[in-house]
């Protein structure tokens, strides 16, 4: 008697029904990748600009790296200086006679100006031997500038040193005047500015500038070693 063969769980035909679609899918991936490689490559490059493992912080909080110091030396090595990055508080600025006592930030966008005064990122920090351009709002932290006179002392305290500047002049310029500051100056100078007139409602077209020269504080050395 001829015994019927036990049917296998998956016949050859059933295996084909599983394997062929998988093989076809793989072939599609290879074929389409090769065909659209330039487009995929460009899209991947563009896409990489919008994706990051680092989470974006949308909050308006800021980091404070300022720690008061008693450093009285004439110089400080660059390796000992924690250079601030944008929106970090790294010091304080005071004009004691004129009721100016505020946090000092690096950068002059909304976070610094909301919480204190900020150094324009295209200028320099104290100790660099160049121009330090500081902005602040006239109705908040730089309101005291309206009373500043020649000879007033401005103190900037940072974690790496304490600096003093003497006011040499005040001037009023239009907001987009190029004559108001010189970022290429080769000696350390401080320029503070704010909207003018003070206490006026709205966005004014003029700016009030206070110019000061450095009188003490450590020079940062070893910058280009």
């Amino acid at each position: 008697m001829h015994m019927k063969k036990k049917s296998k769980k998956f016949s050859k035909s059933d295996r084909k029904l599983l394997i062929v679609p998988l093989a076809m899918t793989a072939a599609m991936v290879i074929f389409l990748s090769a065909l659209f490689f330039p487009v995929i490559s460009d899209l991947t490059s563009i896409g990489a600009m919008f994706f990051s493992d680092k989470q974006v912080d949308y909050s308006k909080s800021y980091e404070n790296i300022f720690v008061p110091t008693n450093n009285d030396s004439d110089t400080i090595d660059a390796s000992k200086v924690e250079f601030p990055t944008i929106n970090k508080q790294f010091g304080e600025l005071k004009i004691e006679k004129r009721d100016v006592n505020t946090k000092l930030f690096f950068g002059d966008a909304s976070v610094p100006l909301r919480n204190g005064v900020g150094i324009y990122a295209g200028s320099f920090i104290p100790g660099y031997g160049r121009t330090i351009l500081v902005a602040g709002h006239n109705n908040t932290y730089f309101n005291g500038l309206k009373n500043v006179k020649k000879g007033d002392i401005v103190k900037i305290n940072t974690s790496y040193g304490n600096y003093k500047y003497k006011v040499t002049d005040t001037k009023i310029y239009n907001a987009n005047s190029k004559k108001s500051y010189d970022l290429s100056a080769k000696e350390e100078n401080l320029i503070m500015y704010t909207c003018y007139p003070f206490d006026q409602l709205g966005i004014t077209e003029k700016r009030f500038f206070v110019y000061a020269k450095k009188i003490s504080g450590p020079k940062i050395v070893g910058l280009y070693d």
């Binding site: 679609p21 389409l32 308006k60 100006l113 909301r114 709002h137 006026q200 409602l201 709205g202």
Partner: protein, 281 residues
Amino acid sequence: MNITKNPKFKPVMYTILSFIMGICILGCALLATARFTVLNPDFYIDRLTKTDYYADLGDEITESLVDIGNASGIDESFFNNLVDDVTLRKDVENYITAFFSGESLKINTSEFQKTIRTALDNYISRKSIDPSTVSESSINNFVKEATNIYVSNVQLKYFSQIQKSVLGYIPKVNILIFVTALIAVAIALFIFFTNEWKHIAIRHIYYSTASAGLFLLIIPAIVFLSGMISKLTVLTRSLNDMYTAMLKAVFIVILVIAVLLIVISAALWIIHSSMRKKASS
């Protein structure tokens, strides 16, 4: 020997046709997804309604206005409820509709400017502000800057640069959807009617739908398992909400189409198996 009479020729030909049909089904599915999502204004409007986009956008505009308020001697409290949610939503929806209909993307800010000027007048009288400190040009500068902030936030970033290209693509996508669907149907009919054994024809059609379904399944699987969408980093929270919601929706649509194709493939498998049993008996 006539190659077409070679018994190995027909299976090879049908397999190649299946492959081409699979590519067409895949193309049609992806193009249709694009047409009914990222190339469709209703998709944007619907997605934006389902996220916190308008709330976040309102907060962002208010924050930026507070910053210029600080530069203008105006209290933060002035800006509470200044940005009206209803007007904001209307302006964004009009912007999206104008984008897809090829109209100018200029935003009508007359209502916003009117609101801000009225609020300023009330603020000045409420605070008994000295008229000598109120200069018409400074107020105008403030209103102009505030309006610029409002407009730049309502306008979706990069949309004005891509409007012409996107509108050019839409008719081409419509044609391609039709063409790929037509080719897929034509190949299916050819396979079916030129095959003596109908269960073999069904099998070849099954190969196309199954491979297209598997391919489509890979795309959202990679995206969702890698957590790619959560790594999106866009300039503002509101835009991040918007693009995240839209990307998720697009890949879910692809996933649904993939599942549909796999279900169709399963049905074809069953039909093929039952027809094969009948044929062999």
